[in-house]
Amino acid sequence: MATNNSIHFPDPPTHGFGRPPLITRPAPGPDTNPGSWIQQITLWRVIVGIIFAAGLYAAYARFALGFERSTHLVDAQPWGLWVGLGTLCGVGLSAGGFAIAAAVYLLGFERYRPVLRTAVLVSFLGYSSVIVGMMYELGLPWRIWHPIVMWNRHSILFEVSWCVMLYSTVLALEFSPALVEKIPFATLRDFYLKWHHELLIGLVLAGTLLSSLHQSFLGGLYLLAQGKLDPLWYSPYLPTMFYLSAVPAGLAVTIIALYLSSRSLNVRIDLNILSDVSQVIAPLLAIYGLFRGVDLLSRGGSMYLWTWREETLSFWLEIALFVIAPVVLLSRPAVRSNPKYLYWTCCLIVMGFVANRLDVSITGLQASSGFYYIPKWTEFALSLATVTAAVIAFRYAVVYLDVLPRNSSAQRWIVRSGPARA
């Protein structure tokens, strides 16, 4: 304890209201004409427009024409892209919120506090898009409330649905101060923020437990696929593996969100924080890789590792993207300290994570089902439109609310170094 020479003082009871805006936009020059709508059309807006148009048609196809016309799902492959990408990846990649909240509030890693709100926002939007995804994934979406009153406690999916419901609520409450602090009525604002502060630890603790449960139970869903799921992925420890992989992937998504915000929004972010977060990712990925390897070998999986088949190739692609490449890259200080390299490394992690979830939910089941599933374009379109909507919501949230870390965060630490204080 003697070496503790940096001290964090609790945040002063200030809030976003009245603080200067985070985003500084260049004032419109004399020759720009803000009224012209032609100039508002940029490449990205065109792309977003196309994505939404395609998504809109896909939604029409799903709800007006049915699964048969909007998906390539069949009885042999009843869960496709909307579960594999929408649910499994959507929830898994949103693990950053609980990981950072637990690190800051429960473990006392104050240096991650500046990215906490970003992580929570990303998670909240991730879970929101999962719930939106449920509306087109479920066959009878208007009955989505059934699990609240119809219980089957032997069902892993029941536990998952309850955890997702509760944790989405926790995330909304965790993020709520960012909205409440914009309320111009001081009494109401301070009343809410005071109570929020009192209850926050409870929320974080509940959120950590709920997340740990449902992140692992998403893998637990496939325990019943014994004999169907390829031995490269089936394991009694699927829940543990889903948990161990979700945390680093969620952190990688947080880094990606922060980096892209700093790139596109003219905000200044202390990029050292990204490097700090990345230092945790590499060991987490290594632990996952080690656990996975030991588990596979101990169950006699080595015979599947070197055969020439699609499953084995997918397996190695996934391991290379999610474990080998990021661990090697993140071990180099040049990568950790360069935001751009770090960003691309995190993209690799996310791709590897997506590959893993799609392998478990699609590739690993092909051999036993005898059906080669390739999603229909409308499945891609609807998933892409959902993610795009979440990204746009994120963009507006960080522009109008105090979410992103500020450069001044360093001032919150006061270094005590003896006489230098005077």
Partner: protein, 255 residues
């Protein structure tokens, strides 16, 4: 107490007349057209494997994976034996189809309000004491129905007395036992039967779910403990800081 009902299919006696298919469609109000595979409009079909006819239908497991998977409890193992489906509860998640070790449940992919379809061993008829429609329609006695003990005994008797039979009753041990049994004179793997584990599948998830209280209790206490340490550390640091600040101030004053 009623005894559990079961069906025995003797593959050596089936002549492939498909009377069972027709009777099933009639009993369940499904369109009368011949189908070669199980579908949402064909809850039992005769599959041809070489010169053998193999009937497929729900195996009505003793401990069904589908019923343990269903988050709203729409699928249930009844005390009578059949595994029933309550369509008014179903939300259309299709986890039952993923979970079924025999790949039986079918989904109405073409409908706008799609439900799961599978054989329910004519639960409504069985409640009234009638045998399943398919069994009643079978002209050769290839399918017979009765109490599970009787049916299993009969299957054992046939397999033991007649050497043409493979020495295995499919369904007696598979996934902890089923309520539909098959006996055959050709090895089952050649007739498209899946080799499945003898352990009931719900045991696998029950183990994971059994960990929940432990995770919540142990995890919760560990996290709470860590939080206590964290905030204690902060308090100590603050106190030390305050102390050094006061001593610093008093030394200033002394100057």
């Amino acid at each position: 107490m009623e005894s559990t009902r079961a069906i025995l299919v003797d593959i050596t006696k089936c002549i492939g007349c498909r009377s069972c298919e027709q009777a099933c469609k009639e009993a369940h109000g499904l369109p009368q057209q011949a189908e070669t595979r199980l579908s949402s409009t064909a809850l039992t079909v005769i599959e041809e494997h070489g010169d053998k006819f193999v009937r497929r239908m729900c195996m009505s497991c003793q401990d069904p994976a589908c019923a343990s998977a269903c988050l709203v409890g729409a699928l249930k193992k009844t005390s009578l034996g059949p595994v029933t489906y309550d369509s008014s509860k179903c939300i259309g998640c299709r986890y039952c189809i993923v979970a079924c070790p025999f790949n039986v449940p079918r989904y109405e992919w073409s409908k706008l309000a799609p439900y799961v379809k599978k054989c329910d061993m004519c639960y409504d008829r069985q409640v009234k004491g009638q045998s399943p429609a398919c069994v009643e329609a079978c002209p050769t006695g290839a399918s017979i129905a009765g109490s599970r003990e009787e049916i299993l005994e009969e299957a054992e008797r046939r397999v033991l007395l007649d050497h043409k039979y493979v020495k295995h009753i499919y369904g007696s041990r598979e996934v902890g036992g089923t309520s539909v049994f098959f006996i055959s004179d050709v090895p089952f793997e050649k007739l498209g039967f899946r080799a499945v584990a003898e352990q009931p599948l719900p045991v696998l998830t029950a183990n994971a779910l059994g960990d929940v209280p432990t995770v919540v209790l142990v995890g919760g206490s560990v996290l709470a403990g860590l939080y206590w340490i964290t905030q204690r550390r902060e308090q100590v640091a603050l106190a030390e800081e305050r102390e050094s600040f006061t001593s610093f101030k008093s030394s200033e004053e002394r100057k």
